[in-house]
Amino acid sequence: MDNNVNLNEVSRISAGTAFKGEITCTGDIRVDGKFDGRLNSKGRLVAGEKAVMNGDVICQNVDFSGKMDKGTFYVADTLSLKSGCSVTGDLRYKRLQVDLDAKITGTLSALTESEFVKAAAEKPVVKAEKSNDTGKEE
């Protein structure tokens, strides 16, 4: 693992934060808060112990210590499920690493490169809420 990551280039959803929607990023991302939606990253996702995620995660590498309520991982390289994590959903990966005490409910299957490209190109389900210029409630 490369430890010489510039922290200023890492996006971060901290604890005490909730996000709903789509994230696209070229760099690494760390999640400690609540995430609901679709994450498409060309780098690594690190989900902390308190992270609660829901939805599709499309990433190069994933280190997961949090909780995935319902969703799908598409990991082009290594999916690493850390001790204490809890995952419900489908896991697609090239390489898989699971620590003792990782709770997994769902399906596991290897992912080919073309399948990954297809998943990454899929259109997001979520859309941004319109600006409330008109004062309209959601």
């Binding site: 005490g16 789509e22 696209t24 990023c25 760099g27 400690d32 808060g33 859309k127 600006s131």
Partner: protein, 152 residues
């Protein structure tokens, strides 16, 4: 005993101070508490946070921040933003900014949209097209309620 005792005053003061200390949020100087949307990252959707947020990438949607929002020079925003304090150096392409307290436009920023705030500061070389209005805390809480509800 609630009644009587004259020296209750100091005890009460002490208790009050303790209460204030317990309920006052510690300013989140911890780097790990700050949300960061780095350059090269794009968020579309709704986000709500108790902590500070720094944006250098793109954000489109609605954002609630109980702390300070810092918008970097290269950031591009669109949508509605509800924050306690804002330092804005980036670009805003349509939408509204609501500041519970201070909105500060930094030199070089570009804003197309409407601004609502309690206190306002503009540096030279800020470009701003839109309307502005002073709002109170009650109005801020009202307009931000749909997004801040995400934290519950």
């Amino acid at each position: 005993m609630i009644l009587g005792k004259k020296n209750n005053v100091s005890e009460e003061t002490f208790k009050n101070e303790q209460k204030i200390m317990a309920t006052t949020p510690i300013p989140s100087n911890n780097m790990n508490d700050v949300n960061r949307i780095a350059l090269g990252t794009k968020l579309v959707g709704d986000m709500a946070s108790e902590n500070d947020i720094r944006i250098d990438g793109d954000f489109e949607g609605r954002l609630y921040c109980a702390g300070r929002l810092v918008v970097g020079e290269k950031a591009v925003l669109k949508g509605d933003f509800y924050c306690a304090d804002i330092d804005f150096s980036g670009t805003m392409k349509g939408g509204n900014i609501y500041a519970k307290q201070t909105l500060s436009l930094k030199s070089g920023c570009t804003i197309e949209g409407n601004l609502f705030f309690q206190r306002f500061q503009v540096e030279l070389d800020s470009r701003f097209t839109g309307a502005c209005k002073v709002i109170g805390e009650a109005e801020f809480n009202k307009v931000s309620a749909p997004v801040s509800a995400m934290l519950k």
